[in-house]
């Protein structure tokens, strides 16, 4: 076996820098996907809580479908479906070749759609955990519905949502490895590339796994800090 320190190091022929860069791609892919998922999730949660049956049905169907089918299938749908549509448009405009969607944007969209389905459940539960009296108080103060959401409900809702969001974040981080199948050079794909060219798959997949583990642990601290901050000044068990 070649010298592991050399393979994963930062010297000539070392893969350390490439792996760290790829970790950055994984992290930004996950962050943007998670944020997009927050938007989808909030919309879907609002739909679920809506009294209009069509909205709540649609939001429910979104959750059931994207939590029930494999994430890989969703990724294939977006990548191939999007690329096929793009190629059709390209043909219309006179191009002849196959046009692939940009992998990073597709990855963000895929993670957004999938994590949105999970985040919706978290937001819905958290919304229902907010004391009813707070809504009455908003009305009594004459706040508009947008104002009451922004100033009163969401800050309190986040207290209940943060533990669930932390779980979804961990899921997102691990799901981001699947984006490697559409060719985005994130941590997983970089590990594959390194494994292929050095013939040391064991070293590279251990290294990739360790980096995922570290990213998960460090970002987990952020969620714990946010939770402590959201609960500051509150007495709770």
């Amino acid at each position: 076996m070649m010298d592991v320190a050399h393979i994963l190091g930062f010297g000539h022929g070392g893969w350390g820098a490439a792996l760290l860069l790829a970790s950055g791609v994984t992290l930004s892919l996950s962050v943007f996907g998670f944020l997009l998922g927050a938007a989808f999730g909030a919309l879907a949660a609002a739909g679920r809580l809506s009294s209009r049956s069509i909205r709540s049905w649609l939001a429910n169907a979104y959750g059931v479908v994207f939590r029930g089918i494999p994430d890989l299938l969703t990724i294939y749908l977006l990548y191939y479906g999007g690329s096929i549509a793009l190629t059709q448009i390209g043909k219309f405009l006179g191009s002849t070749g196959f046009i692939g969607l940009p992998a990073f944007a597709t990855g963000v969209l895929a993670i957004g759609i999938i994590s949105g389905a999970y985040q919706a459940e978290v937001y819905r539960g958290a919304y229902q955990a907010v004391d009813r009296g707070q809504f009455d108080a908003c009305m009594a103060l004459g706040l508009s519905s947008l104002q009451s959401l922004r100033l009163v409900i969401v800050p309190q809702l986040m207290r209940h949502a943060l533990p669930g969001l932390g779980n979804v974040w961990q899921l997102v981080l691990k799901d981001s490895a699947l984006i490697s199948v559409i060719g985005l050079v994130e941590l997983m794909r970089q590990g594959q590339i390194g494994a292929g060219s050095t013939r040391e798959p064991f070293v590279f997949y251990i290294a990739a796994g360790a980096l995922y583990f570290v990213i998960a642990a460090v970002t987990g601290l952020f969620f714990r800090y946010s939770e402590a901050r959201a609960w500051r000044g509150m007495v709770h068990a």
């Binding site: 494999p70 299938l73 969703t74 294939y76 749908l77 699947l178 199948v181 494994a195 796994g209 995922y212």
Partner: protein, 230 residues
């Protein structure tokens, strides 16, 4: 608009991957459950030398992507072919099928052991004390009091884990196993009709999940008759 003839054409093709999906899921969920139960029970004794390695195993498998685990076992261990051959284990690690089952089982064992550990913790201590007062041995208490209550308690969380495993079997397609998702990907790149294939393959997964959730709900209701009557 919707081409029903095309659906009729692709559904049998997709269904030909169903046995593989079901086999991978059934094997890894059952092996994983047995391992999860053993791991959860082993941590009850509070022996540091037992619980520390288990905690590490759980943290590692929960903290890294399933795809990395599958690649590590299939490609990574392949690097040690001579020593695996010496140990007579090469037949196991040579086949993507067994590698997928090993990776999926270890993964679900890690998640499952935490679910079961929590469920065992949730059994009121008074019941254990009552069993001790009756002169029941620890093993008997476990078998007759703690486990029945804990397993029933664990059904909702465990059914989530089972759904995650069904979804997880799709990753086996990346190491060449032709299960439903692998076949779907092949069909998409042959026919260029991503939406139709997605709808058909998605419907198969939703049907599997729906069956499992209904069965587990029925099991839970059957095991908690007092709650169902309320």
């Amino acid at each position: 608009m919707i081409d029903f003839a095309f659906f009729l054409e692709i559904i049998p093709t997709l269904l030909s991957g169903l046995p593989m999906t079901v086999q991978l899921a059934a094997a890894s969920i059952s092996i994983g459950f047995v391992m999860a139960l053993l791991l959860a029970l082993a941590q009850q004794g509070n022996h540091r030398f037992v619980s520390w390695p288990i905690r590490t195993f759980v943290a590692v498998f929960r903290g890294t992507p399933l795809l990395v685990q599958i690649f590590l076992i299939y490609y990574g261990l392949g690097q040690f072919r001579p020593s695996l051959q010496d140990m007579g284990l090469w037949w196991l690690f040579r086949e993507p099928y067994w590698c997928a089952i090993i990776a999926l089982s270890l993964n679900t064992a890690a998640y499952g052991s935490e679910i079961l550990r929590g469920a065992i913790k949730g059994v009121p201590h008074g019941l254990v004390e009552a069993a001790t007062a009756f002169g029941m041995s620890r093993a008997l208490t476990l078998r007759l009091v703690v486990l029945p209550l804990a397993l029933r308690q664990a059904i909702p969380s465990y059914s989530n884990e089972i759904i995650l495993m069904i979804k997880g079997t799709s990753l086996a397609s990346i190491i060449t196993l032709m299960e439903v998702t692998g076949i779907a990907q092949g069909l998409i790149s042959q026919t260029y009709r991503a939406v139709e294939v997605f709808v058909a393959a998605g419907a198969i997964y939703l049907a599997i999940n729906f069956t499992i959730i209904s069965a587990l709900n029925a099991l839970e209701i059957w095991l908690t008759p007092y709650r169902a009557r309320a």
